[in-house]
Symmetry: C2
Subunit: 347 residues, 2 copies
């Protein structure tokens, strides 16, 4: 199962809003459809959004072959600006677009826009390929944290669907499972959009890993009853001090893990780190529409007109994080120091 | 709006499973229909369940007028046994049935079953009337905890719908609101059955109290952002040491409140205390069917056949509880001592 496939100038996305009841693909032939897919969460997960946006730029550039290089570059940059605005929190989106614009800059002296398009396509493919390699390295590093049979809890979906390859947090889980060190996974359903119920539970069942679905408010009780020994989640953006933005509810899970003496692990590639911000206070938190909370599958589950607060993400402070698993290895507190080191490795 | 009305040998229940989209009443003319309503959660909330079960016994007794007193008593006791098995966690159910059987015992010397039925009906009415008076007293005591404008968070529904009168936790909120000391209420939606979204938000909107609906996993983030200054919930059973069984998710909210230095209050009448158990470890936790988690309003939201853990309640240990509001006043730690005193007052 692949969530993102690039072939013949078409980006095929597995429509994640319809899972697990329907397995449908969206064929994107223009960049606007990809932007829409990101906004609607048809493609989601920080690394997957980054790769999708890179391919969207390739599609956009492909429509501009008639233009001379200066106009071509200007138009592609405009498309990049629109793509940047599709989701505000996940930094991989900005990272991938930044990479693509760097490639564009390097081609600016060239007058052949077709050569620029080819270079952009190669860059987008490289971003996707890199995600695959990075996932595999993270899985290997992360699995080393599990040295005996362990039941883990996860929140939202940081699996194959969220990335181009085997996933961040779930990639680690899969590797540790292969090594005999996962007994089962408790999946928080993750309201409002139920990525845990719809995607994580589904992915784990497909992989043959025992999974138990719970509502988000059961996580504390599961910990209290010693039913899990570790928590592992993905991330949408990590600050220089190690503060972690991730799906709403992650912060509560981290506090509960602390209360129960359970390690709280984050698995995220270096592209999820934002080296320009010092702490989580600088991370913009996307607020989404009320209907995500008040309705479900078209059914209204709350009174008409009720006031709703619907932040899509929250920030877990670094002191609640036992370790951050990256493709370069495992980061531990003090995170400022570990992340300074990471900055150097990424250059 | 009354959730339970007794009139002319008919118990009318507001069907809480259909709110807020449909306002429908169920007319129960026999005890079996009441038992079904309790099982299906058409009537819910610890005090309301107690009152409903008492009236169910009156309906059951009313069908047995042909019998001689010994058989009458035996049959009524059998009905009581069935009613006791409708829900395992809320103690008010057992408390109310116990009260009714005591009345039955007192009438056992009498040969006139009609007199016994009248006595049972009066006892059931007294249970409902007592709930009304108790709610009012709790509201007055509880409101004294709010001495300045405060935003509160609540979980599940402990309002008029859960009781015969104005509610336990929400009764306190209403009274404190009248006194100008509530700025707004954050209502956890309370998965899986969404009592917060469907019932609490609706009740507060009807009462004109500002309410903001959130998913359960947002409670920690709301606290982290200083958006609430107190938590108040109801209870289904309280042990002698002050451990509190309440709707699943309450324990997580209590841990989060502790992390943020926010007081966690419980409002519960003395009938919610189980004077026979020393701690929360002795409280049976009802587990309900998987479909409550895997579907919503008939829509499947999880993969077919996924394993589910669905406890309906959890236990919050006494050390996380800042105060328990009862009709006799406010209990504080050490709870064993405060509850010993309560036992004497209840005699």
């Amino acid at each position: 199962m692949r969530s993102i496939v690039w072939s013949n100038n078409c980006l095929t996305l597995l429509n994640q809003t319809l899972l697990p009841t329907r397995l449908e693909y969206i064929e994107c032939h223009d960049w606007q459809r990809v932007a829409e897919a990101i906004r609607r969460l048809e493609v989601r997960g920080a690394p997957a959004i980054g790769a999708a946006a890179a391919f969207a730029l390739v599609l956009g550039a492909g429509e501009l072959t008639e233009l001379a290089m200066p106009e071509f570059k200007e138009k592609v940059t405009q498309i990049a600006s629109v793509l940047r605005q599709t989701r505000p929190t996940a930094v991989n989106l900005f990272w991938a677009i930044g990479r693509m614009l760097t490639v564009l800059d390097q081609m600016a002296g060239n007058t052949d826009t077709n050569a620029a398009i080819t270079a952009l396509e190669q860059a987008a493919i490289a971003i996707a390929e890199k995600d695959r390699a990075v996932n595999e390295k993270m899985a290997v590093h992360g699995a080393s944290l599990f040295t005996k049979p362990t039941a883990v809890l996860t929140h939202c979906n940081a699996g194959a669907l969220a990335t181009v390859a085997i996933g961040t947090a779930l990639g680690v889980v899969c590797k540790a499972w292969e090594q005999g060190n996962i007994t089962q996974v408790f999946a928080d359903e993750t309201r409002p959009l139920l990525q845990g119920a719809r995607l994580t539970a589904w992915e784990l069942m497909q992989a043959g890993i025992p999974v138990t679905l719970i509502t988000d408010n059961m996580a504390g009780w599961v910990m209290k009853n010693n039913m899990v020994q570790a928590v592992i989640v993905g991330a949408d953006r990590i600050a220089l001090n190690g503060d972690v933005a991730n799906k709403i509810g992650t912060y509560s899970v981290a506090v509960l893990a602390k209360e129960h003496g359970i390690p709280f692990y984050v698995a995220a590639p270096s592209s999820t780190f934002d080296f320009t911000i010092n702490s989580g206070a600088d991370i913009p938190i996307e607020e989404r529409c009320a209907t995500e909370v008040t309705s479900l599958g078209g059914n209204c589950v709350a009174p008409q007109g009720v006031n709703v607060f619907n932040p899509a993400f929250d920030v877990t402070p670094n002191n609640l994080v036992a370790a951050i698993i990256t493709e370069y290895g495992i980061l531990r507190t003090p995170y400022s120091q570990a992340i300074s080191q990471l900055v150097k490795q990424c250059k």
